[in-house]
């Protein structure tokens, strides 16, 4: 007789979730353990002689009269030990018709919200509903068939949203970013974040922070958003309000800027993600400088206060030193990337409204009139505008 020992929970059901108790006794309503992640090569179960298993540990369902492994899709017998079942792909493990199976695509049939909790999955995810406010999703490829509300969605590869993204002014659920926002009111980076390691496609977005190493295609309008793009950006509707950081081509089909003078900034010629890092470092440095000044003023009051604040002051100085080194390195990279600025193009077949600020490399231009069908580019360290109309 044989016994199948599991290295995952064979009774796991995503329909019967409850908040997970952590070893420290805490409980989190936003983490329900919606999925049992496994990686390729991970041992899932092992067949052992029944005599080696204590009677109290035996589950009658997993006692086998013969040496037989319940191997299902995306699972295999271990190369060196045929009594072990290993995962043959990254995904989630579950029992399907009595066989241990691994599935690479996670379908969330409803909204991602309180009944799923935050989801972290090593394969691809398809959310058939919305991603609700305050929740987070991270996976390889992400498809959201509904809306993305004020939440965080990260795809290691591509992200596609079919109904659009609308963030709001709520602060980030992430402590660190909340801290950054509070420290720098001027930056007003939206707390809603959609990030892709590859490409990102969506119908519209408003008050959101988009980051993509590849291209971003927006089928409608992009309103009041911060966009960091490593490849090209295509906006088929309006690009109105907010700031775009890009280093290649930006194509705005309908309209750039707003009727009401909402500032719309386009910054090109530098790596968008270096820009992001630099923004974070500068925000943090400015916060730390304020803290340092505060600690120094408190320390100068009397000896007790000096002792009280000595450690904090030491730590602030330590972090400031590390950050200024980082800042220097980032600036060096900035200078190197600036050489690519002459290849950047901002193409607007539609209208360009007054008040748009366009930075390419060291050049700057602010639009004062309404124009249409134009291209912005860098020449002799100046941003120039030329008409695309054929005369």
């Amino acid at each position: 007789m044989y016994y199948l020992h599991h290295y995952f929970d064979p009774d796991f059901r995503h329909t019967r979730l409850s908040p997970v108790w952590e070893p420290d006794g805490s409980i989190s309503s936003r983490y329900l353990g919606y999925v049992q992640n496994v990686v390729r090569g991970q041992v899932l179960a092992e067949l052992t002689d029944l005599n080696f298993v204590s009677e109290s540990a035996r589950d009658p369902r997993f006692i086998y009269p013969e040496r037989r492994l319940p191997i299902g899709p995306n699972c295999a017998a271990h190369e060196d030990n045929p009594d072990k079942i290993v995962a043959a792909a990254n995904g989630y493990v579950f029992y399907n018709n009595g066989l241990i199976s691994v599935k690479k695509l996670l379908n969330i049939r409803n909204d991602l919200g309180f009944h799923t909790g935050n989801v972290f999955f090593v394969g691809d995810v398809a959310v058939h509903g919305d991603v609700q406010t305050g929740f987070a999703l991270q996976a390889a490829n992400v498809l959201v068939k509904g809306h993305i509300e004020s939440s965080k969605v990260k795809g290691v590869v591509d992200v596609v949203c079919l109904k659009g993204i609308r963030g709001n002014a709520a602060l980030a659920s992430d402590e660190e970013e909340r801290e950054e926002e509070l420290q720098n009111d001027e930056s007003l980076i939206p707390s809603t974040l959609v990030q892709a390691g590859g490409n990102l496609r969506l119908p519209f977005c408003e008050h959101v922070q988009l980051r993509a190493r590849g291209n971003i295609i927006i089928d409608g309008s992009c309103l009041h958003s911060m966009v960091y793009v490593g490849g090209n950006l295509v906006v088929k509707g309006r690009l109105q309000g907010g700031t775009v950081f890009a280093n290649k081509l930006i194509y705005v089909e309908s309209r750039l800027g707003s009727d009401y003078g909402v500032p719309t900034r386009v910054m090109m010629g530098y790596d968008a993600f270096d820009y992001l890092k630099l923004q974070k470092v500068e925000t943090r440095m400015s916060y730390l400088k304020d803290r340092k000044a505060f600690f120094e003023s408190m320390s100068s009051r009397n000896e007790v206060m000096e002792q009280e604040y000595a450690d904090r002051l030491k730590l602030v100085k330590l972090e400031l030193r590390a950050l200024s080194q980082r800042h220097k390195i980032l600036w060096t990279r900035f200078e190197l990337d600036g050489k690519r600025a002459s290849e950047c193009r901002l193409v607007v077949p539609g209208r360009v409204m007054p008040g748009c600020e366009i930075y390419i490399g060291a050049g700057y231009l602010q639009t004062h009139d309404t124009d249409s069908d134009v291209t912005f580019y860098l020449e002799d360290d100046e941003v120039k505008m030329r008409s695309n109309k054929k005369h």
Partner: protein, 144 residues
């Protein structure tokens, strides 16, 4: 396996950094040490692991990881410079990353060994983890 799961809270971050991470890693009594930064309710925990972590060690490894986290923990930094992780241990690490993500806490790998890097790369999991390459990155990533 030669890692242990004792956690030693230190009062001052500067003290920890002054110790030099490489120095206390030689101390076989500790696998991980926790420290908190002054002025921040959210604690940063530094976990230092050593040795080869195989399937038989999974339960202990999992317990060691979860022992690092408490209610006040905002960030966990795992030092994996001298660690060899089996695929099953990588699975445990992914489970821990999922738990951290789910609870809005941050997980960093500090100088992961070439074997871990290669494993994560082969499994296409490297982008799921934030990697810190130097001590300066650790300091810059700490919140006071």
């Amino acid at each position: 396996m030669d890692y242990l799961i004792d956690v030693n809270p230190l009062e001052s971050l500067a003290e920890v950094l002054a110790l030099n991470i490489a120095e206390y890693k030689d101390d076989s009594r500790y696998a991980c040490r926790a420290f908190s930064a002054h002025g921040n309710e959210r604690q940063t925990v530094f976990g230092c692991f050593q040795g080869r972590i195989a399937l038989k060690d999974n339960q202990e490894f999992k317990a060691a990881l979860y022992d690092l986290v408490s209610e006040n923990t905002g960030k966990v930094i795992l030092d994996f410079k001298d660690v060899h992780l089996s695929r099953s241990a990588v699975g445990v690490l992914v489970g821990f990353a999922a738990s951290m993500h789910g609870r809005n806490k941050r997980l960093y790998l500090y100088r992961p060994s070439p074997q871990i890097r290669a494993s994560l790369l082969e499994l296409e999991l490297l982008p799921f983890f934030r990697i810190l390459e130097s001590e300066a990155d650790v300091v810059a990533g700490l919140r006071l």
